[in-house]
Amino acid sequence: MATKSRNLSIAKRGLMSFETIMWVFTRLSALGMYALILFGIIGALVMGARNNMNFADVMRWGFMPNVTHVENTDLPDTTPWASPLWKLTASALLIIAVGHGVHGLVVIADDYIATAKGRQVVRIFSGIMILSMIGIGLYLIWTS
């Protein structure tokens, strides 16, 4: 009788492979981003978005709570929107989003690049992209 998969150890089921870990990471990072976006939208409402911004501006702030994203609104003072709390929130969102996004690009690329060498090049390129995007993004967030 064949061994039932439920009796296999985690190692034999392959649950600790890099691909499986990244599959879980993609789902959990999405949940993390939803939480940060919701935090940003609630924060915007607390800071007066209801009277000075339209729905699209609030969404734009929620998806990346950087002060440059609210400069074209009717807000009388954007100082609270540039506080360290929002810079930290934006930094966390940036790091999670870049990891989630670049891994997504690798998954798509793997559907079209079948050679081992080609996939190796994609992974090296993705590593460079993760580091450069996070570096540039953090610089822009903390200097804006």
């Binding site: 999405a30 339209n54 440059t68 997504g104």
Partner: protein, 124 residues
């Protein structure tokens, strides 16, 4: 070994994957759209100067906002459905109903976003 497909373009275009395939392909288009948009937006803001300002001005145009909002909102709402079904596999048997709910939510949120973008873009 190179990638080989035994399906012609016309056959591929006639593929009847229906709702699930449509969400799958739109999720990829939305993700790719965001990846390109965010990468160029970051580089344009970093480089700044006339070229960077030109790119960011294009991004702030209301027509472009409608396109990028589609990518972001569809990817986010469809991703939430995928995450819920993956974390609660018992719900997978209701995946078609979940897709229907997803389209209703997307239509409401995206519709309202487009309405405000157009109203602001036209100076309303």
């Amino acid at each position: 070994m190179g990638l080989k497909r035994n399906v012609g373009l016309m056959t591929a275009l006639r593929y009847k994957g229906q709702g699930p395939f449509l969400t799958y392909i739109l999720h990829r288009i939305g993700g790719l759209g965001m990846a390109v948009f965010i990468s160029v937006h970051l580089l344009a803001s970093f480089v700044s100067g006339p070229g960077g300002r030109l790119i960011n001005n294009i991004y702030q145009n209301w027509v472009f906002q409608i396109v990028i909002f589609f990518c972001v909102l569809f990817h986010a709402i469809n991703g939430l459905r995928i995450t819920i079904l993956d974390l609660f596999p018992r719900l997978i048997s209701y995946h078609r109903q979940a897709i229907t709910v997803e389209w209703v939510v997307f239509a409401a949120v995206y519709g309202f976003a487009v309405f405000t973008i157009i109203r602001t873009g036209l100076g309303g």
